[in-house]
Amino acid sequence: MSTGKLFKLFKIRGGVHPDDRKQLSAGQAIEKLPMPPLLHIPLQQHIGAPAESLVRRGDEVKKGQLLARNQGAISAPVHAPTSGRIMGVGGYPAHHPSGLSVRTITLKPDGEDEWLDKLEPCDDYYQLSPEEIADRVARAGIVGMGGATFPSAVKLNLRKRYRLHTLVINGAECEPYLTCDDRLMREQAMQVVEGVKLMARALDVDHILFAIENNKPDAQASIREAAEDTDIVTVVGLPTRYPMGSEKHLVQTLVGKETPARGLTADIGVVVHNVATARAVYDAIALGRPLISRVMTVTGESIQDPKNVEVLIGTPLNNLIDYCGGFREVPERLISGGPMMGQPLPSLRVPAVKGSNGLLALSDKANKTTTEMPCIRCASCVNACPCGLVPLDMANHIKAGSLDSSVKLGLLDCIACGSCAYVCPSHIPLVQYFNYAKGELASRQRTQHKQNETKRLAEARTERMEKIKRAKREAMAKRKKEMEEKKRKKADKAAVAGAES
């Protein structure tokens, strides 16, 4: 292993230093959550098309059994987190701020927790070809576990279209409060590093940068130790700054190149995967186990005993709260993910999904709601923006209703990291404006698309009708002509007959 001590880092612009509050849960070893009485497994836990259910009410399933298969190229299958009976397939509130219901499989555990007997563990996984690795990752239902939930196999197959040279493992965990990746690196360094090596093989790259923020020295040490006998892994200490974990900014810090706008990091030869994803890849390939659980941080000032918990996918979140001793006080807010980019939870009934990395119960002390004041053009947001945008201008244009001009100002280059709103002395909810505008633009685009489609169909219909009419007219004309011909022939015949007689 080469050391990362002298690794040259590149500067990125902007960023903020929020109070990281990781000490609440960083000292807690990962614990396994006791089996919940019911599991609600949504069919859509990833970006792309939802999975298609293969089970019906009353079916008995084993742990690890395929419950729903992927549909289309960008999708991921879903597996049974434990053995038990399917109670139904239907609507259930989603792990999403809207709380809208999505198709969900409800599973009643039988308490046996019995694995499917046809798992395919693989001892000599170094012999697997890149295609086989990507295929197994796809079949295991692995998605980006840092929160983006993009199907990992699709990313592993990027080698087919891009010339790649480096795999970056994102262990920055720059969001305050969250410690699940930190614990994973400290406790399961071997599995993580093996998973990383498998991913590098799938991507066909010979250079791995394992990036960990400097506020996690224990994680850095354990990964260094686990990667000691591999010389393709370089452990790099990152300065503690938010949003260091943003994929494109992480790559810029490490490689010194910016990802072109609207492009992928693969455009500059780099693919980024998350630490938890690496462990899931190891489980899938070495043990043959699909993605059925993940580590989550349950923390916040309102939680009695903050913990890092290994949770089965589909566990209702109130089970996690109960396991952590319940609430110390009525929380001001419940957040899924970190406090910077996380999303509010509609209720605690919603299940844990593949992309959930944290459950925060924030007290009002940590989350003072202050009245919004007018912008004083202090440029704090301009200085904090890691993307070189002028958030105050964008917000003004959106407020004035001119969404198109906000796009010209770079709205679509905004990564919604929240650094601007974090520093704003006037407490203007800038991210709120930007997300509103992005949503509004998307819905306009859909409307436009629908209109175009309707127009196209209407035109096609008119054309079709015209064609039918034309065909009818032609047929009629033809018939007429034939009739006339017949008549004439008849007349001719008659004339001939008359002449003969």
């Binding site: 612009r13 929020p18 279209r161 891009y162 010339r163 040279h165 305050p176 494109k248 900014h249 810029q252 910016e258 990802t259 706008a261 609207r262 455009d267 500059i268 030869g269 009525v330 929380p331 001001e332 807010r333 957040i335 406090p339 910077m340 980019m341 996380g342 999303q343 509010p344 509609p346 925060l360 924030l362 940590a366 202050t370 004041m373 007018p374 004083i376 053009r377 202090c378 440029a379 704090s380 301009v382 200085n383 890691p386 993307c387 945008l389 002028v390 105050l392 201008d393 770079g410 280059d413 919604a416 929240g418 709103a421 974090y422 520093v423 002395p425 006037s426 909810p429 991210v431 997300n435």
Partner: protein, 362 residues
């Protein structure tokens, strides 16, 4: 759990607020202000308080007329700061109504008419100062020598009340031209600079502030200290002060080298008048200066250039207020053209293109 669950993050916030920003600016103004008040005695204190109280009352009145909530906007400290800055630029023994009219001009005309906090195009304190200077040239150019409190020449409390609120002509007894004013007059009379400069105070006196001038402009050293504190606290960027003072010093140095007899040297330009106060506290006014770094550098350089031009070739001995207002007018334009480069795009806004070998798509 609150009902506003639909609000997007972040759900944590830096310890920043408008009142904190304004408070830090006032804190950094404090040393120079206390020195000014000490040096010019009770009349200066009366004028200072009159201006600030008038500003706060004018703000509350405007907010009431506009139907806006009064408490949060008065408590944000912006009106106090405007009054404070305005008072710093007034002749210390000016009568009370100068402070009052200045406050009304600053708050009502320059700020609230434009839409209140954050909406004004021009720096309110500078609008007020320019309007006063043009309307009341006599009162606005009558400066007095420093008479520190408790010193023998210092006017007593009652006498001071008469200076500020009554019609005392005590100021005539101690009136004295500012350094820039004196040099302008002498150069105008055709006196060569080395000769004219013999009667002005030394560089050290200017640095420390023992000279006649506006209430809070005299002590370059204490203002500099406050300014550096603001940069340290990240309330302002260093770009405007450095580019402004740099441009001013460069131009002054250049012309002084060419003709030492008729062009004042860089040290005098930097240390006298309102140059330092302007560089750190007025040109850097958040509302009326550009938001991008490149914009701020251009803005500062423009201020420096205009200050030098006005001081040297125009009719007024001091041009800070005019220079800042002219550059304020350019701020929207500067912000429109000089934006930071967006991540992943070139300066023209097009996505970056890498042409080297290893990065091409297969």
């Amino acid at each position: 759990m609150s009902e506003e669950t639909s609000i997007f993050g972040p759900y944590t916030h830096a310890k920043s607020s408008i009142s904190r920003t304004m408070g830090l600016v006032m804190l950094s103004l404090l040393p120079a202000t206390l020195f000014g008040l000490y040096q010019f005695g009770w009349p200066a204190i009366f004028l200072f308080l009159t201006t600030i109280v008038a500003c706060v009352l004018a703000e509350a009145f405007s907010l009431r007329v506009a139907g806006k909530p009064i408490k949060p906007f008065v408590m944000d400290g912006s009106a106090i700061l405007t009054g404070w800055l305005l008072a710093m630029t007034l002749p210390p023994w000016a009568p009370w109504w100068i402070g009052l009219i200045g406050a009304l001009l600053a708050i009502i005309v320059a700020k609230q008419v434009f839409g209140g906090l954050g909406q004004n195009l021009f720096n309110p304190a500078m609008v007020a100062r320019v309007a006063l200077l043009i309307s009341f040239p006599l009162e606005m150019t009558l400066f007095n020598q420093p008479v520190p409190m408790f010193s023998a020449q210092a006017p007593g409390f009652l006498e001071s009340l008469a200076i500020t609120f009554g019609s005392s002509d005590a100021i005539d007894a101690v009136s004295s031209a500012t350094t820039l004013g004196h040099l302008k007059t002498e150069l105008g009379r055709g006196v060569a600079l080395p000769e004219a400069a013999t009667t002005t105070v030394s560089i050290w006196q200017q640095l420390w502030g023992q000279t006649s001038g506006s209430l809070g402009e005299t002590s370059a050293l204490l203002l500099l200290l406050g300014g550096l504190f603001l940069i340290y606290k990240k309330v302002i960027n260093w770009h405007i002060p450095v580019s402004m003072l740099g441009t001013l010093a460069l131009l002054a140095g250049l012309f002084h080298l060419i003709d030492p007899n008729s062009y004042v040297g860089p040290m005098t330009h930097l240390l006298s008048g309102a140059a330092i106060l302007c560089a750190f506290f007025i040109a850097t006014d958040l509302v009326t200066s550009p938001v991008s770094i490149r914009g701020q550098i251009l803005f500062g350089a423009g201020c420096g250039l205009l200050i030098y031009a006005i001081r040297t070739w125009a009719g007024y001995p001091e041009g800070v207020a005019f220079a800042v207002m002219l550059m304020n007018a350019c701020t929207p334009l500067i912000d429109h053209y000089l934006k930071p480069r967006i991540y992943g795009r070139d300066r023209k806004g097009q996505p970056l293109v890498y042409s080297n070998e290893g990065t091409d798509r297969k």
